[in-house]
């Protein structure tokens, strides 16, 4: 850091590496393409289990590209990658537990209503 009174010299600009810039735009293109595929699916397919599975897989793929390339996590040390990714196991557990719980409540309410109607 420059001290007071000392004349500050502008650091030299390093020229851009076209390969690096190209890679950034390529990742952007992949993300746009995945979103476009989601759109095509939304307008051409029936909304059922298959479509929802496709959506979730494409979303995870997008998340991978954003984290690995844009957030640079793919180029960090393995220990850093794991300390970010391993805690996310709790989210996976949360999804499974909560959705199972909700389905069971749904079944219970539906059964009760069917009983009332009879």
């Amino acid at each position: 850091m420059a001290h007071h009174g000392e004349e500050f010299i502008e650091p030299e600009v390093i020229p851009a590496d076209p390969a690096k810039i190209g890679k950034i735009w390529k990742t952007a293109g992949i993300l746009a393409l995945i979103t476009a595929i989601e759109f095509v699916c939304a307008f051409t397919m029936e909304k059922d289990g298959t479509l929802i599975t496709i959506y979730i897989l494409l979303t995870l793929l997008k998340a991978y590209f954003i984290m690995a390339e844009f957030m640079h996590l793919g180029h960090e040390r393995k220990s850093l990658q794991l300390s970010i990714l391993l805690p996310l196991i709790f989210i996976a557990w949360g999804i499974v537990a909560m959705l199972q719980e909700a389905s069971d409540i749904n079944t219970a309410i539906t059964t009760w209503y069917d009983f009332l109607v009879k």
């Binding site: 952007a28 979730i56 040390r77 989210i91």
Partner: protein, 243 residues
Amino acid sequence: MATGAIENEKDIWKGGEGNLPMNASYGKLMMWFFLVSDAFTFSGFLIAYGYARFKHVASSYHGIEWPNPDDVFNAFPAMDVFHVDKAPLVFVGIMTFILILSSVTMVLAVEAGQRMDKAAVEKWMLWTILGGITFLGCQAWEWMHFIHGHGEGTWIGGELVKGANLVQNQYGPPLFGDYFFFITGFHGTHVLSGIIINIIIFYRVATGLYQRRGHYEMIEKVGLYWHFVDLVWVFVFTFFYLV
């Protein structure tokens, strides 16, 4: 760079100098850990949404089904001019593209910062800020449309409901509206704070602070935050608008 030995204890807190745990600076590590905690908050919201949706039984709530997002978010500004009745997903699709593009300009700002190219950092930061503001504007329009409602409205429990708020919703159960407001609102707040932070950083780039400091690591840190906002939107888009 990391040498293992810490010559001066104060070096640990310098960020980018001295000892580097996991070969990342203090600032970047802390940003990562903050983002992990924020990811848990957003997951909590989205899982709660899934919970409400899985549990919903129409017959227990005036026979109201959980809405199909295609029927709720199908408006576009100036649709009447083009004589289009429904445009499901189109507007939110454009919003998604805007946010992805602003993420790209952020990566380009980070890349320029690593080359000490002040002019390029300024340019790409401005594009990022512009993208963020455009996204927020779109979201404001979307909220306005959702709150005012469209069509004739719906009769719920002997009352004509038009639009949505926290207690009433013409499209489906009020819970749907509540989760829409909370999840997109919480995300929008993140975008807003991201824009404010980006403006502050842009000002400090323009006044040459990082040039004097000798590195543009601050751009990388706000970049991480900005990409995270984009990442969350990818999930909100899927689970709120597609599924």
